[in-house]
């Protein structure tokens, strides 16, 4: 009789063997009652595990999970601040601080200049500012369509009203 195939039976069952090994195991199972019995037992175990009912979590499980997560999320920025504070506290070197500050200024200056001259001009669009601009525009040019058109389009004039 061919050598026992006990070690290969799980892989055989899961279809994880190559063609030659499959043939070898199949031929052995045809002639060996002991291995066949073991194989059936493994099949039964797998069937039993697959058939286990899905356990239901206790009432409110997701809600409790949500609260734990929310606490964790709230703690994260604080932890990040704490860690960066620690890092700073342990890494303070006057020369390094000056170097970093200098680098920041060098990087920030062109950005400030560029956004100041080229970037889109921010026009305040909250209701107070809008009404104030509208009233001033109407008073300034009572017969112009400009006031009405800006009201309709809700675009404020680029130039501040004198």
């Amino acid at each position: 009789m061919s050598p026992h195939v006990s070690d290969r039976l799980s892989e055989y069952m899961d279809g994880a063997l190559g063609v030659q090994d499959v043939e070898r195991v199949r031929a052995h199972l045809d002639t060996c009652p002991a291995c066949l019995q073991e194989y059936r037992g493994l099949q039964d175990v797998q069937q039993l595990l697959r058939g286990l009912p899905a356990p239901h979590p206790r009432e409110g499980f997701m809600e409790r999970t949500h609260w734990r997560l929310a606490r964790e999320a709230a703690a994260q920025p604080a932890r990040a601040r704490f860690l960066s504070g620690l890092r700073e506290a342990f890494a303070v070197r006057p020369f390094r601080v000056a170097l970093v500050a200098g680098a920041l200024v060098v990087v920030a200056l062109p950005i400030v200049w560029m956004t100041g001259s080229m970037g889109p001009r921010e026009v305040p669009l909250d209701s107070d500012a809008y009404v104030r601009h509208y009233v001033m525009l109407s008073v300034d040019r009572p017969l112009a369509d400009e006031a009405t058109s800006t009201f309709v389009s809700s675009d404020l004039p680029e130039q501040p009203i004198r």
């Binding site: 892989e11 175990v45 797998q46 595990l49 286990l52 979590p57 206790r58 499980f61 920025p77 200024v105």
Partner: protein, 207 residues
């Protein structure tokens, strides 16, 4: 000008922690949506690993919190449940080793009707006439047998036979070679077969 720049830099520094909070809220919402979608798989694996509802809830929540901490490393579009199982299996094994509450069976320990109290108990419940009771008993019996497996074996068999993961995915979750998964899985099934033997025989006979 220098004053304007320094105030801008300082302003940026004081504003950044607050500015991170909406981002955190957004992350949390996206994360919770994924957890909700996979909650039954997450709880099922936690329950089969932990063995009871108290420990299962703890394990599931700890894994979920750990996953949230590492959420930046999750690649959208990949299996979220498998990524979480990876974290859960580590949390689980760490927890078990730390507490060392649950005795595990040595691989060399003899198993059989004479030495194994589990098998003796199951032998007594063989003739139970009520099917419903039998199903509940069966679940408890199988779970008791799972509980007696070493952690690595239990994790492998839960992922492969209860979750239906292929070998390479189990290996990925357990961070071990596929060959290790093959042998652990086979050994786990053999141990379960030995532990549940009389019960399996009875089941087949009744069908």
């Amino acid at each position: 000008m220098a004053e304007a720049v320094s105030s801008l830099v300082l302003g940026g520094m004081t504003v950044s922690p607050d500015a991170a909070e909406p981002r955190t809220a957004h992350r949390l919402a996206a994360f919770e949506e994924l957890v909700l979608r996979h909650q039954s798989q997450i709880y099922r694996v936690a329950y089969r690993l932990a063995g009871n509802h108290d420990d299962a809830e703890d394990l599931a929540q700890e894994a979920i919190i750990e996953a949230f901490r590492a959420f930046d490393r999750y690649q959208p579009g990949t299996y979220f449940d498998r990524w979480l199982f990876r974290i859960m299996s580590r949390t689980y094994i760490d927890t078990v080793r730390r507490r060392n509450r649950r005795p595990t069976v040595s691989l060399d320990a003899p198993m059989g009707p004479d030495r194994d109290p589990l098998v003796t108990v199951m032998g007594d419940s063989k003739g139970d006439p009520q099917q419903m009771t039998e199903a509940v008993d069966l679940d408890g019996t199988v779970q008791a047998a799972l509980d007696r497996l070493p952690e690595e074996f239990r994790t492998a068999v839960v992922l492969a036979d209860i979750e239906g993961l292929p070998y390479d995915e189990v290996a990925n979750v357990l961070r071990c070679p596929v060959g290790t998964v093959r042998s652990r899985l086979h050994r786990a099934r053999q141990m379960l077969r030995e532990a549940l033997g009389p019960h399996l025989g009875g089941r087949r006979g009744s069908r």
